[in-house]
């Protein structure tokens, strides 16, 4: 029996773990893959207070080491279901069942897919969701990126310095962001903007060969030969294991105010998985803090 079961070992979950352990709670952290969450993919983190610059991996490893030293149990198991049994919560994983007095859900989000056939098959064979991870393999090659948000533009600029030619494909007519990097990108000779256009097909057997695009206004279709396609169309929440028990919005993000309390007594939420405006490393840690301390308050009342 645990005081607090934390689902997810990203920045939100591990910060919650630190606060809960310092409050002398018996803590179990469950993580399906590896600690650190999405920040691991960040080459350089320059906006985390106290660190002028740190790699995502180094930050995650420091955080994990710190959390672990405080004595929680950390298990690498995927959570499949969470049951509310009043004062107790049951967490079912791929391997076992755990009982806790409270739960903090900090499962984060994952890359949104285009949803086209061949997308999974060609992952790592031309298709990528991480420009900073895989960009270097496309030196002097022809690459496309799809998306129009800040991270898509940042990734596009990064890729434009590596690839021979870059297509930026965006489904809207105009960008809705203000970005210095967008201005820089517009000045690049090797970048071609293809706006108001969707990708409708991905072709290739052992590796990506081409994509088919379709203009929204003219319905004109065109095949582009590309070596790489980077998909940067945002994120989707990872809430399958709990969306039958806690309230989510229509996209699947868990609804809770700044107090991180869900609609279920004793179940809290922290980090990117919570409905909120700003998803940053700092706000994930902030949520982890609030969720852990409010979980402690909840336990004290019982």
């Amino acid at each position: 029996m645990y005081d607090i079961i934390i689902v997810g070992a990203g920045p939100a979950g591990l910060t919650a773990c630190i606060y809960a352990c310092i409050a002398r709670k018996k803590v179990l952290v469950l993580e399906k893959e590896v600690y650190g969450g999405q920040i691991v993919n960040a080459n350089k983190v320059k906006n985390y207070p106290g660190f002028e610059e740190i790699s995502g991996y180094d930050y995650a490893t420091k955080l994990y080491t710190q959390a672990k030293s405080l004595g929680p149990e950390i298990k690498f198991e995927e959570v499949i279901d969470i049951y509310d049994k009043g004062d107790l919560k049951e967490v079912k994983t791929s391997k076992s069942n755990y009982i806790g007095k409270s739960v903090i859900i900090a499962t984060g989000s994952k890359n949104r897919k285009l949803g086209l056939s061949n997308e999974d098959k060609l992952l790592g064979k031309g298709i990528s969701y991480c420009a900073t991870c895989d960009g270097t393999f496309y030196k002097n090659k022809v690459v496309a990126i799809t998306g129009g948000g800040n991270s898509a533009i940042d990734d596009a600029l990064y890729l434009s310095n590596i690839a021979e030619k870059l297509y930026l494909i965006y489904r809207q007519k105009d960008f809705r962001i203000e970005s210095i990097n967008l201005d820089k990108l517009k000045k690049k000779d090797n970048v071609e903007f293809i706006l108001d256009t969707n990708i409708i097909d991905i072709k290739g057997e052992d590796k990506l060969e081409s994509i088919t695009i379709k203009n929204n206004e003219t319905n004109e279709e065109k095949e582009l030969k590309v070596d790489g396609l980077f998909i940067a169309i945002g994120h989707i929440p990872v809430s399958d294991m709990c969306n039958n028990i806690v309230k989510t919005n229509e996209t699947g993000y868990i609804i809770a105010d700044e107090d991180c309390q869900t609609n279920v007594d004793g179940i809290f939420v922290a980090g990117d998985i919570r409905v909120k405006e700003i998803r940053q490393l700092t706000t994930a840690c902030s949520d982890g803090t609030v969720a852990a301390l409010n979980a402690c308050k909840y336990l004290a009342k019982k």
């Binding site: 893959e33 590896v34 650190g36 960040a42 080459n43 790699s55 270097t136």
Partner: protein, 104 residues
């Protein structure tokens, strides 16, 4: 099993090697690769009948990763008698790496 670095000698260590060889393609700037590193080392230390190799793609003088179509890291490729048997793209847990190494 000790891990062999094969940036310069893929042909000797893998292509003309008998039995099973596993190669971890990685780079120092790749976060998930660094996470996978310790997993690979732990499993290597517990396994006797498979040869464990690492190839840093930044120092891949013979363009091995390019020839094999490695376009994302970490990528792990299992070879048998020098021929590719299967590959995995992305991080693997210790348990999943052991399953990957099993004959199937």
């Amino acid at each position: 099993m000790k891990i062999i670095n094969i940036e310069n000698n893929f042909d000797e260590e893998v292509k003309s090697s008998k039995g099973k060889t596993i190669v971890d393609f990685w780079a120092p700037w790749c976060g998930p690769c660094k996470m996978f590193g310790p997993v690979f080392e732990r499993v290597a230390s517990e396994t006797d009948n498979i040869k464990f190799c690492k190839l840093n793609v930044d120092e891949d003088t013979n363009d091995v990763s390019k020839d094999l179509g490695v376009m994302s890291i970490p990528t792990t490729i299992l070879f048998e008698d020098g021929k590719e048997k299967k590959r995995n793209i992305g991080y693997l847990s210790e348990e999943d790496l052991k399953i990957f190494l099993e004959d199937k």
